[in-house]
């Protein structure tokens, strides 16, 4: 079968590195009147100490506490008709501002200022700690299934810091973080050579570089030796955890270790998860919800982390389904993949869908700026325009091999999250 998608658009960009080590990437978008300015710091929950988890995320919050020069970060963004936000995950912390292109320099001014002069007063830290603890309670403790992912991580990883979620292991770690620890974190991770600035706007790339030099060029770098991150040892026996909670429906999760972001495993895992759960025509939905009527909802996904990640099956049982039936159903799906029972049409479909989603994703400046920062962070910026091609090249036998290698009982962690 020939691919029906013949041309795919490319994100054009130019890249430079300032003398202090700051990476700068510019994409020109002539269709938009808005500009997106993204700054990514190469620090996430995986860089945390096991006895002080949640610090990377707490720090993301602190980045909005203002400086002596700019006491309130949000107001100038908003005066410039802009909007800003941030997120933290296990691998990195990302800050972004979108605003009318005419006001783009405001974003440079703000980001360069907080890279150097952040207000880390005792008072600011205390208030932000309380906000983060409320976030912990709202999103993880006060939600049905709120602790599910925490339990899963803790079972799948014994050693690697992916063992904990970005929010941290417990609110106590956040509550007990000292001012000195917080200040040390800032020095260690928030400096030019640990950051990537990426911009998408209707501006010549050279103009973006000039602005970067003007606002960031004079910031002194203070490089720190990266602490090694402990590798996760290979798993050799099935793991299993059963818990009971006050939820309406039992959920079953089976997770497997797989390769890292730059390995072939990433693409094989991604396409396999699309075969299983990418859209309403995908296997799990058709077979297990529609066909066997075992689940109310079902999913398969990869965690997509930089270091070796997880492939996860998850399903919420209907009241009439036994746990045994549900587990067996997942393993039967796995057996089909291992036997390469995949049609050309089906494979072509998930490839087409991947390509279309990539194109839809390139419609706005924010996504582009964010993606440029991300691909630079993983260490292979040109990959941003090669993903579709790599995805296209994958074959049934590769998917079967991947499934045989990864989906084994010895490599599995099963979580039964049982409704009381």
């Amino acid at each position: 079968m020939h691919p029906i998608f013949t041309t795919s658009s490319m994100i054009k960009y130019k890249q430079t590195t300032l003398r202090n080590g700051l990476t700068v990437i510019a994409n020109r978008d002539t269709a938009s009147r808005m500009a997106a300015v993204n700054i990514l710091y190469k620090v996430g929950a995986r860089n945390e100490n096991p006895s002080r988890t949640g610090l990377a995320h707490l720090f993301e919050h602190l980045m909005f506490r203002g400086t002596e020069n700019i006491p309130d970060f949000d107001t100038p963004v908003q005066m410039a008709c802009g909007e800003n936000n941030a997120f933290t995950n296990n691998d990195y912390t990302d800050f972004y501002i979108t605003l009318p292109c005419d006001n783009i320099e405001i974003a440079f001014w703000l980001e360069s200022d907080r890279m150097q002069w952040l207000n880390l007063s005792a008072e600011a830290c205390e208030i932000e700690k309380r906000v983060v603890i409320e976030e912990f309670r709202q999103r993880y403790l006060n939600q049905p299934y709120g602790d599910l992912n925490m339990l899963l991580r803790d079972m799948v990883y014994t050693t690697h810091p992916y063992r904990w979620a970005t929010i941290g292991l417990t609110p106590d770690h956040i509550a007990d973080a000292s001012l000195e620890e917080i200040r040390d974190f800032y020095r260690r991770f928030y400096h030019p050579s640990n950051a990537i600035l990426s911009v998408s706007a209707d501006l010549p790339e050279e103009r973006v570089f000039e602005l970067a030099e003007k606002w960031f060029g004079a910031i002194e770098d203070c490089p720190h030796k990266a602490e090694p991150i402990p590798a996760e040892p290979a798993q050799s026996e099935p793991r299993r955890l059963e818990v009971e909670r006050d939820v309406p429906a039992t959920t079953i999760v089976i997770a497997f270790h797989m390769g890292d972001r730059l390995s072939e495993d990433f693409y094989l895992g991604d396409i396999t998860s699309d075969l299983l759960a990418g859209g309403d025509s995908a296997r799990l939905y058709e077979h297990l919800i529609k066909g066997k009527k075992l689940f109310a909802s079902v999913n398969a996904y990869i965690s997509g982390d930089v270091d070796c990640g997880m492939f996860v099956f998850t399903g919420q049982l209907l009241p009439t389904t036994t746990e045994q039936e549900a587990e067996t159903a997942f393993w039967e799906e796995i057996a089909q993949l291992q036997a390469a029972a995949i049609s050309d049409y089906e494979l072509e479909k998930v490839k087409n869908k991947f390509e279309a989603n990539t194109l839809f994703g390139e419609l706005n400046v924010m996504n582009k700026a964010m993606n440029l920062g991300y691909y630079s962070m993983i260490g292979d910026l040109p990959l941003i325009n090669r993903e579709v091609e790599i995805y296209r090249s994958l074959t049934k036998s590769q998917i079967a091999d991947f499934s045989k290698r990864v989906f084994t009982p010895e490599n599995s962690s099963t979580l039964i999250y049982r409704a009381k």
Binding site: I4, A31, S32, R33, M34, N69, D72, D74, T75, P76, Q78, M79, C81, G82, T98, L99, P100, E105, W109, S112, D113, E126, I127, K129, V131, I133, E134, E135, R137, Q138, L141, N142, P144, W215, D246, V247, P248, A249, D280, S281, A282, Y285, E286, K290, K293, A296, Q316, L318, P319, E348, K349, N352, K353, A356, N357, L359, F360, L363, N364, V365
Partner: protein, 420 residues
């Protein structure tokens, strides 16, 4: 370094929607943005939950359009859409059902084959209805374990009355008696040319428009199918709902006002933005930044076809619920007694302008705003008028609106949490 200058766009240019009429009279609105290689096509029916004769039938109808048609099974529809990388989205509110399809331009015709079936020839097979009922019932029971869901549903009841079409909510068991027959009836009576508008955006070539026209012209004519006159609202001003084990309380507060067509709607939007409509809003400053009671708080004007209200929502630690309620009351009182400082009001105006610019940056956002305007009986020149109206509000005007509309005795307060 000193702050770079910034400019505030004096106007936001939005193209008018080009108007066409299908043979059966269905209006078609076209936003042609030929620089984007995508097509988005929405059908909006006056078929929201206020028009239903049985609990959940309006949402079931919209959600099940693609679950089997005269010529395709649910699986074939999903396959076909996925194969071409197209997708569709169902949105339903109290008044309207929005059916939206997205496709890459080069696959619009193939996607249209599916759109036609989904829209014109759904069969609502009994077996699919059964799956849908079980799935949704379970989802709803999970939702109702969350304090925010409990507060939201009780707030609507408190504001409009237990059996008012805008206030009512139904027990989960009502899903068990939902039938294919009821759904078919709802479809026949509500998905008619008289109840429909079509809005498309992206690259709308003559061939694309011709096809859209053909589909719209095939929508059956029927009766306008009015909605029974709403009963008088029965407002309860205070409600406390006990939810065992909650570590946070969900608070909803607000009052009934008027729909978007009312002259005070836009200035009340300005006022609600000052109160809680952005990250640096008064409630956010107070509850989150100064007190650390909450992860977030938000307020907005909500528009229905026949009503409108102001609402604010937050989740706070159980132990600070009373204090949070006092602080909210205090912030509202300040709006009634003091003038909003000029700088703050200028900020809010810029935020609102910026929000508009961001939404309107790209074909899909323009289509959304266009749809909203049409449903209110406006055209796109309303956007500029609204911006001018925002710009012209004064501190004096806002204070007198607060005095008029936000008297403590007129507010409805609902709190869900663990108070024992």
């Amino acid at each position: 370094m000193i702050q770079p200058p910034l400019t505030v766009p004096a106007s936001v240019y939005v193209q008018q929607a080009e108007q066409h009429k299908a043979l059966n009279g269905t209006p078609i609105y076209v936003i042609n943005c030929p620089e984007y290689e995508v097509v988005r096509l929405s059908f909006v029916f006056h078929a929201g939950s206020v028009t239903q004769c049985h609990p959940f039938v309006a949402s079931a109808t919209a959600n099940m359009l693609a679950e089997g048609t005269q010529h395709f099974t649910a699986q074939q529809i999903a396959e076909q859409l996925d194969y071409f990388g197209s997708y569709f989205d169902i949105n339903i509110d109290r008044d309207y059902a929005y059916i939206t399809f997205c496709a890459l331009s080069k696959f619009f015709q193939q996607t249209a084959d599916v759109i036609e079936e989904v829209l014109l020839r759904p069969t609502f097979p009994a077996a699919e209805v059964e799956i849908y009922r079980a799935k949704r019932r379970q989802q709803l029971s999970i939702e109702r374990r969350k304090v925010e869901t409990i507060a939201r549903e009780h707030f609507a009841k408190a504001m409009f009355g237990e059996s008012h079409p805008y206030g009512i909510s139904y027990p989960e068991e009502a899903y068990d008696t939902l039938t294919a027959e009821q759904i078919r009836h709802h479809y026949e009576s509500r998905y008619t040319a008289e109840n429909c508008i079509v809005v498309c955006s992206g690259k709308i070539t003559p061939e694309v428009l011709e096809r859209i026209n053909a589909i719209a012209s095939a929508i059956k004519s029927g009766e306008k199918g009015g909605v029974e006159a709403f009963p008088e609202c029965q407002t309860t001003s205070q409600k406390v709902i006990q939810h065992d084990g909650a570590v946070q309380s969900s608070i909803r507060m607000g009052r009934m006002l008027f729909p978007r067509t009312h002259e005070d709607f836009v200035p009340m939007q300005v006022l609600s933005t000052v109160l809680g409509g952005y990250f640096g809003s008064r409630l956010m400053q107070n509850l989150r930044e100064r007190n650390g009671f909450t992860y977030g708080v938000f307020s907005a004007m909500v528009n229905f076809q026949q009503a409108g209200y102001l609402a604010l929502a937050t989740q706070v630690g159980t132990e600070v619920t009373e204090q949070a309620l006092d602080e909210i009351a205090r912030e509202i009182e300040i709006l009634r007694t003091e003038l909003i400082p000029d700088e703050e009001l200028a900020l809010v105006k810029n935020i609102m302008a910026g929000e508009m610019m961001r939404i309107l940056d790209g074909p899909f956002g323009i289509a959304d705003v266009t749809t909203e305007n049409i449903l209110c009986g406006f055209d796109n020149s309303q956007i500029q008028l609204n911006l001018q109206r925002i710009q012209s509000t004064t501190p004096e005007e806002l204070r007198s609106l607060a005095q008029k509309y936000l008297a403590p005795e007129d507010l409805v307060t609902v709190v869900a949490g663990d108070f024992q």
